[in-house]
Symmetry: C2
Subunit: 195 residues, 2 copies
DNA sequence: CCTGTATGTTTACACCGCATACAAGCGCAG
DNA sequence: CTGCGCTTGTATGCGGTGTAAACATACAGG
């Protein structure tokens, strides 16, 4: 087999994917502090400089990891959205968003910590946007609703991750669902008050 | 003068405060990457190990810096709250919160990046809580309203800082005020919709 | 004055990201 | 098959970091 890769080949096979996976593992167990390029290389059984053949630098690797995280997030939001209809669907998305952050805190931090040089929204944004647009009522333009919903769940997730919210509330995700549902209902069914 | 401090005194006078200030300066110009214990010490014209006489380690110093940041934030929220009444006061707080984050992004990140071992809320929380409680209507319990408002502005700030929101919207803070005002009005004046 | 204690300094180590120079394996003309 | 070249991984080294230990200095109270 000309393309077979022996176990101990000098060439790794596909290091790039292995590096991203290793980085993710290190991240999820041990936090961001444990994520050093050298440690990643060590985990893959490879020299410290090897990653530089596949990534421009540490930041580049982290970007790849974050991209993978955004894929996972989009998937989670998609299935959550499909699990219900109307305002409940948006609430489900909100709960899923917070749950994702709680389940993979270090990854979530990484995803939103990078100053994000490329301003393109993650694919997950589209999923939220679609649902929010469908719910937008007279009280608030669709654009503001999308932004408000995103800000709400993102802020909630961030505060939980930073330990700013009592654990019994944050842990279950009940608060996330309740608050998002409140928001969704208010946005959907309510006319602009007097002012 | 027994207490006079010569320019080149061996003892600094009050290093602790100087270190915190220096750390803040380094943080505000140059981002978090520029904040190394050694750089802080250098800025104060002192050896690299000197800070350890006043702080248990880098994390401890950062905690002190964050505490100072929370003081400033509380003050900003307080004056904003006093600048208006009713729902507009909460909107003003929201705008001030986001403005604070935009004005001092690195500090804001630091304040909410530490996993926050001591679960006590910042003093700023009380200011928001009071206003939210005063506004709480039948649509949402006061506790949820407080949490929702905080999450909303915090998430908005975080998303802006991460470059996830178009600059023309985030920069001015208009979005923050608009959205928070929407939230405040909805919470204050609107009965629970049919469901 | 003499001594104890708080405060800074020096030296040292392990780790990090990264630059450069080198070696090992694969693919493809001939 | 042979040999060349390119990709991939290695070895070594530099400047930087956080921090531990041992040392030096200035002030305070007897």
């Amino acid at each position: 087999m000309s393309t077979s890769r022996s176990e101990k080949a000098y060439h790794h096979g596909d290091l790039r994917a292995a590096l991203v996976s290793a980085a993710l593992e290190l991240l999820e167990g041990g936090g961001e502090a444990a994520l050093s390029l050298r440690a990643v290389a060590r985990t893959c059984g490879v020299s410290a400089m090897a990653p530089y053949r596949h990534f421009a630098g540490k930041e580049d690797l982290l970007e790849a990891v974050a991209a993978r995280g955004f894929e996972d997030l989009a998937e989670a939001l998609g299935t959550a959205d499909a699990s219900a209809a109307g305002a409940e669907a948006l609430a489900a998305q909100g709960a899923a968003y917070v749950a994702f952050a709680c389940r993979r805190p270090a990854l979530f931090r990484l995803m939103f910590m990078t100053p994000c040089r490329k301003p393109d929204r993650p694919r997950a944004y589209g999923i939220l946007e679609a649902r929010a647009a469908a719910l937008a009522g007279p009280a608030m333009p669709a654009e503001d609703l999308t932004l408000a919903a995103w800000s709400l769940v993102h802020g909630l997730a961030a505060l939980i991750l930073d330990g700013r919210i009592p654990p019994e509330a944050g842990g279950t995700g009940a608060v996330a669902r309740r608050i998002t549902l409140h928001l969704a209902r208010l946005m959907a069914g309510v006319p602009e008050p007097s002012a």
